[in-house]
């Protein structure tokens, strides 16, 4: 199982499409930096295919005024949770 990191908003970049195509059935996706804009509706719909495996970084949401506004399907993690996700995954692939 791989962890993918995405730091681009799906509103301005199409890289999330390549990310989703490269993801295996167990793989997880963590939205960081500008990627966290994808954790809110309606953009969060772009990640429908990985329901339950989508995460977003709390401090990047908070600094952008978005904490508490995430779609219910997104799991919000703190920095320690980010580290835990990398522990649990064999490898991490970054998309930018």
């Amino acid at each position: 199982m791989l962890l993918h990191l995405l730091n681009r908003s799906p509103a301005s970049s199409l890289v999330h499409r390549d990310t989703l195509r490269a993801m295996g059935e167990e793989d997880r996706l963590l939205l960081i930096e500008d990627g966290v804009y994808g954790a809110l509706m309606p953009l969060a719909d772009r990640f429908e295919a990985i329901h339950g495996r989508l995460f977003a970084l709390r401090e990047d949401l908070a600094s952008r005024g978005l904490d508490g506004r995430c779609d219910a399907r997104v799991t919000v993690v703190d920095m320690e949770g980010f580290v835990t996700l990398t522990e649990e995954s064999e490898r991490t692939v970054s998309w930018f």
Partner: protein
């Protein structure tokens, strides 16, 4: 190791710097697979030239890959189709890979460098 090239030539140094990682890996004796994905497929288009001010292109480096024994070259079919390209438009013989095969490709390599 897998090196993924997702950026077009000339607009940024990502393609050149990604290729450098592949070359160094090969010079160190690693088995290198190259995947051209997204805008990275533009790197393969024929008839490229040097840029303004004599900035080197990446097309001679692609010709050089065989000298570094980098022979596993894959191109994402969907990325080609989206850009109106076919294998005949490309300067090198590369193997097309279908979208369904991408996850396994990412999973099977011990190291993945995504540029």
């Amino acid at each position: 190791m897998l090196v993924v090239l997702r950026h077009a030539p000339h607009g940024s140094s990502w393609l050149r710097e990604g290729l450098d990682v592949a070359l160094v890996g090969a010079a160190f004796g690693q088995a290198v697979t190259l995947l051209f994905l997204g805008d990275g497929v533009e790197a393969l288009v024929r008839n490229q030239q040097a840029g303004a001010l004599g900035q080197k292109g990446t097309h001679p480096t692609l010709d050089m890959l065989a000298m570094y024994d980098i022979e596993k070259l894959l191109v994402d079919s969907e990325s080609l189709a989206e850009r109106g390209l076919t294998l005949e438009d490309l300067q090198l013989p590369v193997a097309p890979i279908a979208a369904q095969a991408l996850p396994a490709l990412f999973a099977e390599h011990a190291a993945v460098f995504n540029f």
